[in-house]
């Protein structure tokens, strides 16, 4: 256990009686009512303000122009949570984000959300990440369309017109259990327990104020080449995912970050997150020839190069023909169809594998597709272009969906979502 992660304790020799007197917490083992937990944690160990601890290893910064977890180099694990809001006023919602701010900083510093100074109340931090470093934890907060429809919150006039539930796409089979949400927390880290721990502690501190609607854990296996350089991870169909992502600052501003005047002012420097829980029918895919698999993507499996090219990052050439005058890139391929519209997005996807589906024995596995764009319409345009023609449709089913407006980054001394609450 490193010094920074160690819990601090009151002297164990303090008598139980004296301890109870000090805290007024009653008998050991007392269950704190759900709505009272946040207050207890706040009172006993969470500071009001914290800075990024730049001395910590494997650390992503919390403060900045943009939220973490968007341009951040993708980690090996995600725990994505969609939440319902239980608070009844804008002020309470604002308090929630104020409370979460130092907690998120502390978690991203690789520390507990607060110090447990007292054994006779529940621990301030649930503790399963003790002794583990920051693991490049990023935490991204967003708000969904339903939050603005909640009349008691009085936020309807602040809803960006582009923030809406996604339209129904051909072959969607969305399940309520994986769709929508008032808020989202995307916790990414190079350790699944660290990502889970972050969401668990934020939600726990907010008990009575939010409830979980759905969650999904996901992972990425990131190959490292001979030069020690990270390569594009492969999805469960074994194809590289994220090759065409924007990389330059200009491309990020064109594709991902909301610029001044492009959305509601509170979203400037923010981004819109689209999440899709896409089941991959691995059994069907695995009985398909390599040729047909590659025709589906329009790329070669072994190196990710587009059809007719040599290398992963070579430009796609959709007009190229072979010696017989046939197009090299199949017109039903994912790559060909996606290029029929101008829209681009930044993919930041993870695989998931959640056992098997009871009645069939088929893998409940696939892609937790997450993309960021300055307007959800970019995703919709691409998805519509894929439409019914996409050869991929034989192999996947969209089971869950969500769209969230992710706030701009947080300045020191400010808090998550301040621009929304001050608007």
């Amino acid at each position: 256990m490193t010094e920074s992660n160690k819990e601090t304790f009151m002297d164990k020799k303090l008598s139980r009686r004296r301890m109870l007197k000090m805290t007024g917490a009653g008998a050991a083992g007392v269950a704190i009512g759900a709505s009272g937990l946040g207050g207890v944690l706040k009172a006993f160990g969470v500071p009001d303000f914290l800075e990024d601890d730049t001395s910590v290893e494997n650390k992503v910064n919390f403060y900045g122009k943009h939220q973490s977890g968007i341009a951040t180099e993708v980690q090996t694990h995600v725990y994505f949570a969609s939440l319902s809001v239980l608070v009844k006023s804008k002020a309470e919602l604002q308090e929630l984000f104020k409370m979460w701010t130092p907690m998120a900083v502390s978690l991203m510093n690789g520390k507990p959300i607060g110090e447990t100074k007292n054994s006779y109340v529940p621990p301030v931090d649930t503790g399963e990440a003790i002794g583990v470093d920051a693991k490049n934890l990023s935490i991204t907060f967003g708000v969904g369309p339903s939050l603005f429809k909640n009349k008691s919150l009085g936020l309807s006039h602040l809803k960006p017109k582009e923030l809406n539930d996604l339209p129904h796409f051909p072959k969607d089979q969305l399940e309520e259990a994986y769709t929508g949400g008032d808020l989202c927390i995307q916790a990414c880290a190079d350790d699944p327990q660290v990502a889970f721990h972050a969401v668990r502690n934020l939600v726990r501190a907010a008990s009575g104020k939010v409830s979980i609607k759905w969650t999904q854990a996901g992972f990425n296996s990131i190959p490292v080449n001979k030069e020690g350089k990270r390569e594009t991870p492969r999805n469960l169909f074994a194809f590289k995912d994220g090759t065409e992502n924007p990389r330059s600052e200009k491309a990020m501003n064109d594709v991902v970050w909301v610029q001044k005047g492009e959305s509601k002012p509170w979203m400037t420097n923010g981004s819109y997150l689209v999440v899709r829980r896409i089941q991959m029918h691995l059994e069907t895919w695995d009985r398909t020839s390599l040729q047909a698999q590659e025709d589906t993507f329009g790329r070669y499996r072994h190196n990710g190069a587009p059809y007719g090219k040599e290398n992963e990052f070579d430009a796609v050439d959709e007009d190229r023909k072979d010696e017989n005058g046939n197009y090299v890139l199949p017109e039903t391929s994912h790559v060909f169809l996606a290029r029929q519209v101008k829209a681009r997005i930044m993919r930041r996807a993870f695989s998931y594998s959640s056992g098997v589906i009871d009645h069939t024995g088929a893998y409940d596995a696939g892609l937790l597709f997450i993309s960021f764009q300055k307007n959800p319409q970019q995703f919709t345009d691409i998805q519509n272009a894929l439409g019914r023609l996409d050869k991929m449709n034989e192999y996947i089913t969209h089971r869950g969906s969500g769209v969230f407006a992710c706030f701009p980054g947080i300045k020191k001394g400010s808090y998550i979502g301040e621009a929304l609450f001050n608007a």
Copy 2:
């Protein structure tokens, strides 16, 4: 992509027509019938014998006195699969294990199960682990009690008398969807996609011969101390799990490895695996005081030391009393109760987190408890000692269960389970 992981391809310039002629596989995209897949893979790329490639980094050896994945230092991920057998004869079952042997070696060498030499049939390997090293993959094979009841296999006389479904324990709420199985494959690796890939490819190659009954992915977050030494991982209750494991060769022989004459001869140097899918009621736990949490385990949370002691590995002292003459270790604690019997086991557990339970919003999270012992009765004795008194019962529910006889290790030139088939 490293040289060793690169797929080999026939020259892409071979005409489609010539290719089809060579393979007789018909049109590109042809779906191979489920039962034919193993044959296709075998014919096109899987060798009959392979050695451990000791030049590979992060590599666990396949061959040895014992199977891998038991004494192997615990990895960060598991994909555990329970399978039903579809074959109708002992000879077919034997062929299955013979087929799996070089595949398992290849996977543990960080390579595909075979080379894809032909684009017009399904890839020999599903490919999602291309470019990633061996990641300390271990693969452990076992057989369940139901296999010996299958009359067409003719193995009933070889069933060890200690290999039985576990008895019903107080507070068990087992679900059929997570219980039992004819065979198990425990794939552990320091990468979730590598573990999943191993099971997927073994099961795929055996299509028509086995079907999946249930699977569960799990993880461990392994703290590393200032000296770079691995520490005991924490479960989702934040307590260290595995502190009391046997470590010396003598202890392993006393507790884990079946010695000559202790079971059926085919199990000598093997071990029995018990798996329990234990839901942890995190919401209840998280509203419980630290004191009551520690009373539940009989250990301190921050360093894992037993009550009244300083360090994690200090011996438990159940007779120790405080200044008022009260026992230091609560009589309802996990540690106290487990010590009321002589039996010991080796825990090799993982956490799991599989979203939330639809109708409640509670985490579907907990412990994928796996233990190894030379006789499942060791587990049963401990579980019975915990019984109804165990304070832990308030916080957990056992949802799934399995017991499997894991074969001894495999000698070069032999195959998995040979002693059973030659018996």
